[in-house]
Amino acid sequence: MPEKKNHVVDWLPAYTLGSLEAEEKQKVEQHLSECAACRKELRSYQAVMAQIPLAAREYAPPPQLRTAILRQVEGRPHPSPAAPAASPRRPWYAPLLQLNRQPLWGIVSLLLIFGLLVSNLLLWQRLQQLQSPRSDHFIQVPLAGTGSLSTASGLIVISANGRYGTLVADELPTLDPSQQYQLWLIRDDQRTDGGTFSVEDSGYAVHYIHSSEPLLQYTAFGVTVEPAGGSPGPTGEKVLGGSF
């Protein structure tokens, strides 16, 4: 590091802007985790960052945008700020116990449950057919959760010509808005950006893969946690990985 006493003060402006390369950024973050003085310096540059857009050209948003935003949020469930209070956990079969109190709804519910069971059976059979690594039309690459996210999983489905691909991920934790997941296309130890994505509150995500080269040219895939918008190279925790 070029700083006196190994501080990273001179690197903080570029770090704040996100202009450092991945290796430099990692060094700065390592130092920041141990140095209160540099963290204080960092906050002063973050304050500058927040004011920079005030110096740029201004544009008036269209008047209907405000209405559109309010309409959108009013139509969606608002996540509760606090976790559900410590209500006693009900067993999964609790609703069934109440069916005898409402006979009509009970019959409808039972028919619905039966229908879902049949539907699941058909889907399971279809899944078995598709689970060969390379079907006639699609190539599939399963991704497994890593580290503490061992229950997370993913599946990359690539078209037969290798030009189009989609990632489906499940059981990934939702991230702070300042972070996103980023897919990496891996070949010869080189990581190429495959796009960023976020997960729904359920932990589920579908991400269309952007790649200038056929996806079959890559040998493996990985997903890491990165600052929102993505990074030039992987910097955060790896959460999913898999290869052909």
Partner: protein, 194 residues
């Protein structure tokens, strides 16, 4: 539109940003409307400066405020001001949109405003007083042009040092120095404007 704004309870328009976020966390959409009235123009302008396309800037702005609605409970006041948080989200989403379109802006004609323009709203919002905006713009105007250009590429397009050097055909060390000096000078001049 005006009817909507005038119907806001005075309590929302008088709340500070952190209190508005608490109200948003409680599911009060009027608090989000008040926050939009304070920062909607700033967020939209930031997105326009990055993406240069009204439809894309609208999408980013909408995404930012919906994110605020969904994630307000995760805001940590110890990590920075609400405005910094909002601008961080807006900048990241905008640059994300730029990368998704695989767009590399040509010419990098970033137009910093040197003073208050005639397009400014007649009544400045609580956080964007004319005096404050003017001081920031004057501080930016005092930077050498090459530092302003490098800063614009880093801030609005998310370029790394190496990408700026490649885009401008300049030595990497020169770019690093320009970015550092620009931010240091701005901090020095803006330090008193908290």
């Amino acid at each position: 539109m005006k009817a909507d704004r005038s119907s806001l309870l005075p309590a929302y328009t008088e709340m500070d940003d952190a209190a508005l976020l608490q109200a948003i966390t409680a599911g009060q959409s009027a608090a989000l409307a008040a926050l939009y009235d304070r920062y909607g123009r700033l967020v939209y302008s930031l997105a326009m400066n990055v993406l240069s396309e009204p439809a894309a800037a609208e999408e980013v702005t909408q995404d930012v405020f919906v994110q605020v609605w969904d994630k307000a409970s995760r805001y940590d006041g110890q990590l920075g001001k609400v405005s910094s948080w909002l601008i961080g989200i807006a900048r990241n989403r905008s640059i994300d949109g730029l990368r998704r379109r695989n767009a590399r802006p040509e010419g990098h004609q970033m137009l910093w405003e040197d003073g208050l323009s005639t397009n400014d709203p007649p009544v400045e919002s609580q956080v964007e007083t004319a005096e404050r905006k003017g001081r920031i713009r004057q501080a930016m105007a005092r930077l050498p042009q090459e530092q302003r250009d490098a800063l614009a590429l880093a801030f609005f397009y998310g370029y790394t040092h190496q990408e700026i050097a490649a885009a401008r055909g300049e030595p990497l060390g020169t770019v690093k120095t320009r970015i550092r000096l620009a931010m240091q000078k701005l901090r020095q001049e803006l330090g008193a404007i908290k």
